[in-house]
């Protein structure tokens, strides 16, 4: 059991929870979080927002019963963490862009800190949040509210583009990036049960057959993923 240090509202239905303790993990990996005993039955896979020596934090969107429970947590409450799971983002070299949509910005913060001054593109449908947090680690920062963030990227400028956001946004990004020479990596969101590769609930349809979002992903090279057949969560 771990102890919640703080759990604050960042925007409408978006919360940032900090948990005490020494945790492992790298950018793009996730933990299975559980703050209840039997129900909901499944733990919730949440990607690492930030990690420091004595603290780990998770940025989450309140969207169902599990995240609703997370929202109720207060400093001093206990929560169970299993992980870190998943492959995480590649150590991209050269000119890098991070493209986040909505709550998809969550795993990009640690990536911004760990990669070398990447350009940051953050798109939101209604209100922006945490954009200033990215600035100290970023080259250019582009923020868009209500528009189409993937239309604002000069794809040819980049060696690597890392993206996390709504399925439809990532699909549009992958299409626009085609032929630009940029290598694109997508971080996918899937419903999960075990989180460790045993149950095959989170299979992703890929070119060479199914792959597991929890252990082979959640980060995939864009050309691997069959966006024509995948529909997101």
């Amino acid at each position: 059991m771990n102890i919640v240090k703080s759990n604050v509202k960042i925007a409408k239905d978006v919360y940032l929870m900090k948990i005490e303790g020494q945790f492992e993990g790298r950018m793009g990996q996730f933990y299975m979080l559980r703050a209840w005993s039997d129900y909901p039955v499944l733990s919730r896979p949440i990607s690492i927002y930030d990690l420091s020596k004595n603290e780990i934090s998770f940025l989450y969107h309140v969207i169902g019963e599990g995240t609703e429970r997370f929202k109720q947590l207060e400093a001093g409450d206990s929560i169970q963490l299993e992980g870190p799971y998943g492959n995480g983002f590649p150590e991209a070299q050269g000119k890098v862009a991070l493209v986040g949509g909505g709550i998809g910005i969550a795993p990009l913060y640690l990536a911004a800190k760990q990669l070398h001054q990447p350009d940051i593109y953050l798109g939101f449908s209604r209100e922006s949040y945490l954009v200033d947090e990215f600035r100290p680690f970023a080259g250019d920062v582009v923020c868009d509210v209500g528009g189409i963030i993937v239309n604002q990227i000069d794809y040819a400028k980049y060696d690597t583009i890392i993206t996390c956001g709504p399925h439809i946004m990532m699909q549009a990004l992958v299409e626009r990036a085609q032929g630009s020479g940029a290598e694109v990596y997508v971080s996918l969101e899937k419903r999960m049960a075990c989180g460790i590769g045993a149950c095959l609930v989170c299979s992703v349809m890929c070119q060479g057959g199914n792959r597991k979002a929890c252990v082979d992903g959640p980060v995939f090279a864009a050309e691997e993923v069959r966006f024509d057949a995948e529909h997101g969560v």
Binding site: Y39, A193, C194, A198, S203, N210
Partner: protein, 310 residues
């Protein structure tokens, strides 16, 4: 001194905790969390003759005290298993159960033959990787309009008979709660020479997305598991226990040592843990301690003393 051990068709189980097919991979993943040799046994991911990609779309949905799954038997196929996973099973000190699925009777038979031939060859040189075949008759019978083999006794009989003839390995038939008459189904398995039955598989269920006005599952229906189904599972194990002499592997929503004791009292020799692995990934290593404690408190020295007492 408490003794939790038992045997099914000569195969020793050091305790009654067996991990259920489809929730435990082939064991490797959970072996990173704890020593899976402490388990009574493991049942591997359900295998079919050819690899299967499983169902598209949403594969899991939570329900009150349970979950629906629609994985659709995604698996790497029997050949892959024998080549890539069975060598790992050779190193394990726990009962190793291969779960065999199918599509047509021919697939079941060939699958059973392949597994048996592989194991025979190993045993000739004093090695061993598979102890039991668990036959999953919940697969749809493609030739007869997609209704699962496990619904009607006479349809299931054909599969059980065919697989029984195809293997000399101990054979346990996994029964579906969707069977028209599960006690009759179990009795059929006994008559056809099965060494045991395991039950229950998931209960067919449904979830509708009211906004989209369609099922959340591509396959329309999905399998319900978890604590929600435990009372039904327990009742069915008890019913089956009244009708057969062969051992029963009981399962369905077990989450506590006390649940395990209930299933044994209802007549199960061992039990299987499925959904609870997702609720508590260290379930396997914790459950046996709880059973031991209960036995101490109740002054029960072997589980035989309480098996089928109702």
């Amino acid at each position: 001194m408490q003794n939790m051990a038992c045997k099914i068709a000569g195969v020793p189980f050091k305790n009654p905790i067996v991990m259920a097919s489809g929730t435990f991979g082939f064991g490797k993943e959970y072996a990173k969390l704890y020593d899976i040799n402490r388990l009574g046994g493991i049942s591997g991911k359900g295998l079919t003759l050819a690899p299967k990609a499983g169902n598209p779309g949403v594969r899991v949905w939570e329900t009150p005290s349970g979950m629906l799954n629609s994985v659709g038997l995604e698996n790497p196929g029997i050949d892959y298993f024998l080549k890539e996973e069975a060598p790992y099973w050779e190193t394990l000190d726990t009962a190793r159960i291969v779960n065999l699925g199918g599509g047509c009777i021919e697939d079941y038979r060939i699958g059973a033959e392949l597994i048996t031939a592989h194991e025979k060859k190993l045993r000739e040189v004093g090695r061993c990787s598979i102890d039991i075949i668990e036959l999953n008759i919940s697969c749809p019978n493609v030739k007869e309009g997609g209704i699962a083999y496990g619904v009607q006794t006479e349809t299931a009989r054909q599969v059980v008979r065919e697989v029984r003839q195809a293997t000399s390995l101990p054979l346990v038939v996994k029964l579906s709660p969707n069977a028209e008459n599960i006690a009759e189904m179990a009795y059929m398995c006994e008559v056809e020479g099965a060494d045991g039955v395991s039950l229950i598989n998931t209960i067919s269920g449904m979830k509708i997305d009211t906004r989209l006005r369609k099922s959340v599952f591509h396959n329309l229906y999905a399998g319900l598991s978890g604590p929600a189904i435990k009372p039904i599972a327990l009742r069915m194990v008890h019913q089956v226990a009244q009708h057969v002499k062969i051992p029963i592997m009981g399962m369905g929503g077990i989450t506590t040592a006390s649940d395990v004791i209930e299933f044994i009292m209802a007549g199960a020799s061992v039990i299987q843990i499925g959904t609870y692995n997702f609720m508590n990934p260290r379930a396997g290593e914790q459950m046996t301690e709880g059973i031991k404690k209960w036995m101490e408190q109740e002054n029960v020295s072997t589980l035989e003393e309480i098996r089928g007492i109702l």
